[in-house]
Symmetry: C2
């Protein structure tokens, strides 16, 4: 890698820490110099001409006398560093914050590239998405990369972009896009059959930390709807289709209607067994047709359909046989790939998400460093 860039990191939780670990330990990445760290409490800025020490960043950030800057003030501080250091700056947003996401146009207008695993900006309103596209639309302008918003480090967005830029016609994108949903249905409806109860699987998944604190946030399907939004906006024919982003996606919630509105997560999990019969029936009906159940996202370009929901697949389909753990799988059917191009692997986890972020950062350095 030839280019040197400066990096500002917002959000230093699990993913952010893993990004910093990769930057600190891989010698080839030394050209990516971290000059700012910010969490909800503190901001740590490097001296002019220097990078932050990545060995003890946590101690330093905690000890920083600077309370977390507003995003406006962060931009001013970064502009100052940019003027002093004369290097292109990339901002990494490792938060899941809507506020940071809606600030991307300002980062880009300030000339900073944006790299992020945060789905919010690219799956929100079409207005925000267009503001982002406009803010970077100049020759040699700043860049945005968001590979980790779908399938973590798996080559999904890059592959879709390559297909489109070379003139392929996307016909269908279909996939198991939520690690949590993948785990739940790999357990509940394996190709070999199962009699496990849906509620038990959800409970155990929650106990192991595989779900959000409130499992209803996974079972709502909104994570899949967000990923579908991000992908569909890359397909020229669909770019304008979802004005309200993921809220415009036809999404099937798996929360039983009798539990809708149950805000208390413990109560939700406690009452879920009341509805096991419904899930048993769905599974039995699929099994009769020698099928399994999977919660999938589907983009059918020709039929103009974007939807997230429960579908059944024959027991010898890759979605049925090949998945395990909380794997994601995605299938692109195109003019050139009538037999689909498939990508599969872990779609969640701090290290694989950070890998996608760091690989994106390398691309920024290659192009703007």
């Amino acid at each position: 890698m030839s280019g040197q860039i400066d990096v500002a990191i917002i959000g230093v939780g699990l993913v952010g820490s893993s990004v910093l670990r990769q930057l600190a330990t891989v010698p080839a990445l030394s050209a990516l110099r971290v000059i700012a760290l910010q969490n909800s409490k503190k901001t740590l800025l490097a001296q002019h001409g220097q990078g932050l020490s990545l060995q003890d960043w946590k101690t330093q950030l905690n000890a920083s006398p600077v309370a977390a800057l507003s995003l406006e003030k962060l931009v001013s501080s970064l502009k100052e560093l940019e003027a002093a250091n004369q290097r292109h700056i990339a901002v990494i947003d490792n938060t899941s914050s809507d506020d940071v996401a809606s600030f991307y146009p300002s980062f880009l207008e300030a000339g900073f590239s944006v790299v992020t695993p945060n789905k919010k900006a690219f799956s929100g309103s079409l207005d925000l998405f267009k503001a982002i596209v406009n803010a970077k639309a100049k020759p040699n302008g700043p860049l945005t990369y968001q590979e980790s918003t779908v399938g973590a480090g798996l080559p999904i967005i890059g592959t879709l972009n390559d297909l489109i830029v070379t003139g392929d016609k996307i016909k269908k994108i279909e996939g198991v896009l939520s690690g949590t949903m993948s785990y739940i249905f790999n357990e509940f409806s394996p190709a070999s059959g199962s009699s496990s109860k849906f509620s038990d699987i959800v409970r155990v998944a929650r106990e192991n930390g595989y779900t959000e604190p409130h499992p209803g946030d996974d079972l709502s399907g909104s994570d899949v709807a967000r990923k579908l939004t991000i992908l569909s906006r890359l397909v020229p024919e669909l770019a304008d289709k979802l004005p309200e982003g993921f809220n415009s996606v036809n999404t099937q919630s798996l929360t039983p209607s009798g539990l809708a509105g149950e805000q208390n997560a413990d109560n939700y999990v406690k009452r879920l067994p009341e509805f096991d019969g419904e899930f048993d029936q769905l599974r039995a009906s699929a099994q009769e047709r020698k099928c399994v159940l999977r919660y999938v996202g589907l983009i059918d370009v020709e039929k103009n359909i974007i939807k997230a929901g429960l579908e059944s697949y024959p027991a010898d389909h890759p979605f049925a046989t090949s998945l395990g753990g909380s794997d994601n799988i995605i299938s692109f059917t195109t003019e050139r790939y009538p037999r689909p191009l498939l990508v599969q692997g872990a779609g969640a986890g701090a290290d694989v998400t950070a890998m996608g972020v760091v690989a994106d950062l390398v691309r920024v350095a290659e192009r703007r460093g």
Copy 2:
């Protein structure tokens, strides 16, 4: 895409024609200007400041008064165009020529990037490979991209590079890497069982143009050995392991020993049925263990093994269930992906190979345009 580059294309057969079609028909690619075409007979050079017309390139090339230039003279002509046009030049090698491949260091030393689906240079001697690496090793120097050398347009080399540059440790790379071998064994040993004769499948594959003119050139396994060489050289621990390139790979030929040396393709195919019994036995032995046969390439970094050969896989393994047609599949097992990252899809064909080439060309334009 921001950057504008000039493109010189050597080899305008099936893949080259498809590259030209993509460049001619996709509006977003207009920044990639073709300034030179060369086949074994003719060379066509653009005027200063202009690109060639891509609508009737074939007529123009045939009508060109310039007989095919030596590669040395081609370089001089391109240097002249570069001086006049002030644009970075990328050379595309769509041939399968060893001569063109061994000229890459000279292209790079002249400052031209090289994009290619030709496996020869990257799977040949380690000396040539190192000469290529050295010739581009300067800041903002020319680039090489070769995604289409393995799996055509599938995201294989890009993915492996992303894993490595972000510090992942590659443990195992395993795959069905030859479209022809994939087709033959998907037919001969499907998960559902088969009693087809090996010789019949090879004969039909040849009649349909799925094999090389002499099927022994596929059954030798050398195509797989070449791809393993290309991949293993990207893995730091293995970079120096194959001094003679694919000739150093432990490769199992499927040509029966009784047929070794049969140069005449028709005789080869005519005599192949004499050896069906051997293949039947292999299949029966696999079936007894509920396995299928696949011809795979394997790189085991920990065990220091690089080999190509026939292996058996359980009937529910992705290599057994998920493959069809002449699909390639590749599996990366790494520190971060203990459950492997899989990529699958058509691994041969002019349009998907050209797609990989054009996507690589876009990357050159993004970085050097």
